[in-house]
Amino acid sequence: MPEIKVTPLGAGQDVGRSCILVSIGGKNIMLDCGMHMGYNDDRRFPDFSYITQNGRLTDFLDCVIISHFHLDHCGALPYMSEMVGYDGPIYMTHPTKAICPILLEDFRKITVDKKGETNFFTSQMIKDCMKKVIPLNLHQTVQVDDELEIKAYYAGHVLGAAMVHIKVGSESVVYTGDYNMTPDRHLGAAWIDKCRPDILISESTYATTIRDSKRCRERDFLKKVHESIERGGKVLIPVFALGRAQELCILLETFWERMNLKAPIYFSTGLTEKANHYYKLFITWTNQKIRKTFVQRNMFEFKHIKAFDRSYADNPGPMVVFATPGMLHAGQSLQIFKKWAGNEKNMLDVKMQVEYMSFSAHADAKGIMQLIRMAEPRNMLLVHGEAAKMEFLKGKIEQEFSIDCYMPANGETTSVITNPSVPVDMSLNLLKREMALGGPLPDPKKPRAMHGTLIMKENSLKLVSSEQALKELGLNEHQLRFTCRVQLQDPHSDSDTLHRIYTHLKSLLKDYTIQHLPDGTVMVESIVIKVSSSAEDANSKVLLLSWSYQDEDLGSYLSSLLKKGLPT
């Protein structure tokens, strides 16, 4: 039986180092190639030795697909392609291709320059790796080879995040990467058509959460910032991930614009600034509002937001500063925090408030269910989440959609048996003949039985009428007839019995042509019925039925009918 195998090397019942292997229709595909934030040793990267112990991966993988630019989805890519060795195609969307190297370079700098690690990938390796990347467009079907095709859908998690539909023949898998079903200030919602894949591999970060509307969150945030600015206070906003920073920038920028505020907003320089450049360019990947208004003004060309300089922190008056890293544990955000926290003791009317806000762009439980409803998969597979939470969602999915749901751990293989349909060419003559027989229109919902000959020749399948098949193959036609004897107790003479059979059948089978031929036979369509009395007993008659195999249905019906005897 054909089957699809899915093995997570990372992100199986876990968040981080997403890396999933899929074998479908004889093709092997790697989905994402991420690193784990929590580890600094070998566990940081997925275990590629699972694929092969020695040698390069090129022979074992048909392609690698990266869903978006976050490091837990692409962090191990240079390691895999350059250090382990892979020369095949790597697919990612245009924005991902543009932003990914910036993040990888940053990651390399921190690991090598700051922590002093050796045996790590180099800048050159990142460049070499990016040369192997083939960019994807949304909804563009890319033919990886003759059989394998992939298509990207909008995922809305960050700029350029994509879901991929992988298809071999009639088998298909959808991998969602990270996605978001609720639109935000700069990105739209994930969308997929009703592609009915065999497996839907979905993230499940918020498997057990249903979130409140983003409007309340936004309003709270804006109100706090606004109040603090009005009082002349300074606001420090530590931000984590690339993408969320832009979201908050857009949010504040539009608010400033709307409310006509004058206080400066600063953005601590760093990788986000570089990334911002790309945000300006990939307008088509953003939401409706930004796409519609960019003709007048590109929303990412901020009017109120300027680059931050260390000296600005001492400026008097209200201001808002975005700084990295998000945890306030080091770097610029810590410096600023220290400076302003100290000031707070001196300046009485500026009250330092600590606000915790969550602006996360993952789909919540409802969102995941919504995506399942959109795509209508036959099986479901959860990754990128905690085991306990997945368990809950798994139960819910099985209950609501009555489909199988899997949640393999890392290294564990899930196989799903598929039932691929095999396309067969049908000869036009045969089709027309069949249509003429069975009503005007074929009903696509109902299977239909038909006669024909399947010819398998040189990897192609053909369904033709039997005459044509005989002709093509140069064979002679053989007639196959069934004959059957039925014993009957009937006191009448042979000819009378025959006549009685004739009238009996005539009364029962109204739609068929029944003939009483002068040579002592009854013909029902092409079925011949003869009567002969047995030698010993004149009363017991032997009926001889003969039919060709095409009339098998009618023939067997008649024989069983006649076995019951004639009405007296």
Partner: protein, 961 residues
């Protein structure tokens, strides 16, 4: 395949080459042929290949065909159709047949037989579809024909089994447009049109499924009752793979829910049953989270019109249950409500108050929204603003009919004030205003609402002011909050002054008891000390006073809290801003405006009596037999005075009173002009002396234009009366100038004719009038000499009686007020000569129809130059019925002046007599011969100033070198 493609490429290539060759001679031939059909015939016979033929047909289709030759052309087309072997040419012919049968005045019965015959022999599916389309056109042209309809339906049924989707589509369309539900069909006795159409709900082609649904809708639109049986099928189509099918299915489900709201349907997989409208509501709610945004818009819009749904289901649409790590979490709305209830609202947010609470049982959590659950929660957060707007509108419609739902959806609407798209914000503010009668805002909600006051968009702020006018609030803190935020707004955007004051006026008069405890604080009075007197010109202080005075109107104890200067300020404001400050009964002060204080007491009674008075005055005037009756002038003078005063007192009748007064003034002028002594002299003698009469005639003409175009709500009878006066004025002019201007007599006679034509239906009402007399003498007038004519006119003018004016129900005078600039500024607007300066204009227009086309801004410079500026259509906003707002900029420029001086700015109402006079009732009189009508009167275009001019001080400086 490749060979085929190649062939097609060659074909197309050859087409491109051949066209220019054949075109030129074809045109020449056509010119020489008189008959259209003959020309076509020759052309088509000449065509050697299909490309040529197509080309001829295309050219032919560009020109209209006269009714008489349609039949012939159709014959020729059909003839060629039978001969033609090329599909594309036949297809074009078929489409031409359809086009031709649309010709006005042509009855397409005769086409039917031919087309149906050709249907039988046609092999190409595309041509078949086109032929059916032609039949559809014919069928819609002859909706009531008893012979054609069943035949067409029969044809459609027969061809429904075609394999090509286009043919099936057209057949379904035909059935939808022409089929009858109740009469069974001839050849299929047990099936009616509806069941045939519903069979195709499960067609394999989505386009056919859509067409079937649309055909069903068409049946419904034609007023046929569609059966409930298809409900289940339609519901199944809601989950179709194709969006257009789903969209049409939403409509069908909605239609059924409106037709059979109360019938009972079973819930699958349970034994329960619910009302159909509830079931449909649930299903359509589900579509709000559909994959396609078109469907989502459709679903959201539809929800708004399902008013019969049970409250239980309605409230589910706003339902959302939150959880975090399987723990129940409260929504921000619930938290805000609790916080407010516990009295901790002002202290702000507690740390981690959104921490999840109790653990949830995994079995009870429902992740898939069943039924209507959370439909609006989804819709309001949708990615596309079209969906959000539709959801907001639907919320509004539902909330208007259900107060409890209005209360519930309040939080969500308030949230929408923060949307990223201005249109959505504006819409949600408008919606909140519309449902504001049902709701009372809580303090925290008000806080969110007020935050929007800082928005930089003027439209948003003004919408919000409008909203606050109608809002109910619950506590005095709310009033204080609102006042503070409005003052902040005033400070930030001083241009909002009027709007803010108006808003506070309503806020005060709505909540007198809540304002009362705040008064000492607001006026900063102190029990022992005298506080300094605030600045009277401070807009913020005026704002506070407006609030307090309006509250004091229905709270008699309040004035006791006022200090001395407050009373003085009251007197000042009552004079200067009388529309904002109501009359108050102040202790120890005499009522300054006795009339005003009486007014509110009598209410509607006074309007009635005023109406009666108006009518009586008119009746009295009508006693004047003709214009020479002694004492008539005095009577008119008094009546005009009375009417003018009445208009001032009774604002509701101001339009009518003004209208009458102006009309009477015209009559008076006419009367005076006729009574001049000079009048009896021989005409040539008085040429030099009749200046006053000339001026009067001119003035009457102007007044009639005002009467006609400045007032809305006129009926054709009034228009006729006005035109009659105009005719009189023209007659007067003619008498004065007949000698000097030859040809003016003919013109006048033409005018009489056109008057007769225009007001044929009104003529009986004009008996004894001037026109009536003239029409009697018409044969004589046409033949006589100018001198004679003048004499006749003179006598008939003097003998004709006064036409009685009948008042229409509603009559309003268009008016405009320029709010900005105020004309108070002493600082001249300085700018360099040769450059321009932009002047902001803000004006309100009332009772102006289509101001975009009519309203203009005029700038008058001191040297007599005047500029007329046409504002952009986008500068007009429509804040309410019959109200418009013009916010625009005009550019001023002039050569250098030695010192600053004033320019006048005013608004003009443009009119054109050609466009406005034929109102609907008049049209019926002469609609038969519009084309043959000569230009009635040379279209008179002009402008009427309808606002008070405002003076702006400007100073163009010479350019520095």
């Amino acid at each position: 395949m490749a060979a085929h493609l190649k062939k097609r490429v060659y074909e197309e290539f050859s087409r491109v080459v051949q066209i220019p060759h054949e075109e030129a001679p074809a045109k020449k031939l056509r010119l020489s042929k008189p008959s259209k059909s003959a020309a076509l015939h020759i052309d088509l016979c000449k065509a050697t290949n299909s490309t040529d033929a197509l080309q001829y047909l295309l050219q032919f289709a560009r020109k209209p065909v006269e009714v008489e030759s349609v039949e012939g052309v159709i014959r020729i087309l059909l003839e060629h159709y039978y001969k033609e072997t090329d599909n594309s040419v036949r297809l074009k012919i078929a489409s031409l047949l359809g086009l031709l049968s649309k010709t006005n005045g042509f009855s397409p019965d005769c086409v039917v037989d031919d087309v149906i015959n050709t249907l039988g022999n046609e092999k190409s599916h595309q041509v078949l579809a086109q032929l059916l389309d032609t039949l559809l056109v014919v069928g819609t042209q002859l909706p009531e024909s008893p012979a054609v309809r069943p035949r067409l339906v029969e044809v459609a049924c027969k061809l429904l089994s075609d394999t090509y989707f286009g043919v099936r589509n057209k057949c379904l369309q035909l059935l939808g447009c022409l089929g009858m539900v109740d009469t069974p069909l001839r050849q299929l006795p047990f099936r009616d049109v509806q069941s045939i159409i519903s069979n195709y709900f499960s067609d394999q082609d989505p386009r056919v499924r859509t067409a079937a649904l649309k055909a069903m809708l068409q049946l419904h639109e034609r007023g046929l009752k569609i059966h409930q049986i298809i409900y289940e099928q339609a519901c199944r189509l809601l989950s179709d793979d194709y969006e257009q099918v789903r969209s049409a299915a939403v409509q069908i489900v909605w239609v059924l829910s409106q037709l059979y709201p109360e019938s009972i349907v079973p819930i699958p997989s349970s034994n329960e049953e619910i009302r159909l409208v509830d079931d449909a509501f649930g299903k359509i709610s589900h579509m709000v989270s559909d994959g396609s945004w078109m469907v989502r818009v459709q679903a959201a819009k539809t929800l708004g019109s399902m008013l019969q749904v049970s409250p239980h289901f309605l409230e589910q649409t706003l339902d959302k249950k939150l959880m975090s790590d399987l723990r129940r979490k409260r929504t921000a709305h619930e938290r805000a409500k609790e916080l407010f209830a516990s009295g901790e609202f002002s202290s702000g947010r507690k740390w981690a108050d959104d921490a999840p609470k109790e653990k949830l049982d995994t079995n009870t959590v429902n992740l898939i929204a069943s039924g209507a659950c959370g439909a609006f929660v989804h819709g309001l957060e949708d990615e596309m603003f079209e969906v959000r707007i539709a959801a907001v509108e639907a919320l509004c419609q539902l909330a208007r009919s259900s107060p409890s739902f209005a209360e519930k959806c309040l939080d969500f609407l308030v949230d929408m004030f923060n949307d990223e798209i201005e249109e959505v914000r504006l819409q949600s503010i408008h919606v909140l205003r519309e449902i504001s009668t049902h709701i009372t805002l809580r303090e925290d909600q008000l806080d969110t609402v007020l935050a929007v006051l800082e928005d930089s968009s003027r439209d948003i702020r003004e919408a919000l002011h409008e909203l606050l006018c109608y809002t109910n609030v619950s506590t005095k803190e709310c009033i204080q909050l609102a006042l503070l935020d409005l003052l902040k707004n005033l400070n930030k955007y001083p241009t909002d002054r009027n709007s803010v004051w108006k808003c506070l006026k309503f806020l005060g008069s709505r909540h007198p008891t809540l304002v009362l405890p705040l008064v000492p604080e607001l006026l900063s009075t102190h029990p022992y000390f005298d506080t300094p007197e605030p600045d009277m010109d401070d807009p913020a202080y005026i704002a506070v006073l407006v609030l307090v005075f309006n509250a004091a109107k229905s709270c008699p104890t309040m004035p006791a809290l006022f200090s001395d200067h407050t009373f003085r300020h009251y007197a000042y404001l009552r004079d200067s801003l009388s529309h904002l400050v109501p009359p108050l009964r102040l202790p120890g002060r005499k009522q300054v405006y006795s009339l005003d204080s009486v007014d509110p007491g009598c209410g509607s009674g006074s309007v009635e009596s005023a109406k009666l008075f108006l009518q009586q005055s008119l009746n009295r005037v009508s006693t004047i037999q003709n214009l020479e009756t002694p004492g008539a002038q005095d009577l008119l003078n008094f009546t005009i005075r009375d009417l003018q005063r009445l208009g001032e007192l009774q604002t509701e009748l101001a339009g009518a009173a003004d209208f009458c007064a102006t009309y009477l003034r015209c009559q008076l002028l006419l009367m005076k002009a006729l009574q001049e002594k000079l009048w009896n002299m021989a005409v040539p003698l008085c040429l030099k002396q009749n200046v006053t009469a000339t001026a009067a005639a001119q003035q009457i003409l102007e007044e009639t234009y005002k009467l006609e175009f400045l007032y809305s709500g006129l009926e054709s009878r009034q228009v006729a009366t006005i035109h009659h006066v105009r005719l009189q004025a023209k007659a007067l002019q003619l008498i004065l100038t007949a000698r000097t201007r030859p040809g003016s007599c003919e013109k006048f006679l033409q005018e009489i004719e056109s008057f007769q034509r225009m007001f044929l239906t009104e003529l009986p009402h004009l008996q004894d009038g001037f026109v009536d007399k003239l029409l009697e003498l018409m044969p004589r007038l046409l033949s006589c000499k100018p001198v004679e004519l003048v004499k006749i006119l003179q006598s008939s003018l003097r003998q004709s009686g006064l036409l009685q004016l009948r008042l229409p129900e509603q009559i309003h005078r268009a008016s405009a007020t320029i709010i900005e600039p105020t004309g108070e500024s002493d600082n001249p607007l300085r700018f360099t000569t040769g450059l321009v300066v932009a002047l902001d204009i803000d004006a309100t227009l009332e009772h102006v129809q289509e101001p975009q086309d009519k309203v203009k801004v005029q700038v008058l410079y001191p040297d007599g130059q005047s500029h007329v500026i046409h504002p952009k259509p986008a500068d007009f906003r429509n804040p309410g019925p019959n109200r418009h707002r013009l916010i625009t900029q005009v550019y001023l420029s002039h050569t250098a002046w030695t010192e600053p001086s004033q320019v006048e700015v005013r608004l003009l109402l443009a009119y054109s007599s050609s466009s406005s006079s034929p109102s609907s009732s008049i049209k019926s009189g002469w609609s038969d011969s519009i084309d043959g009508l000569p230009p009635a009167e040379a279209a008179v275009e002009g402008t009427i100033p309808f606002s008070k001019p405002v003076k702006v001080y400007i100073m163009p400086k010479p350019a520095r070198r």
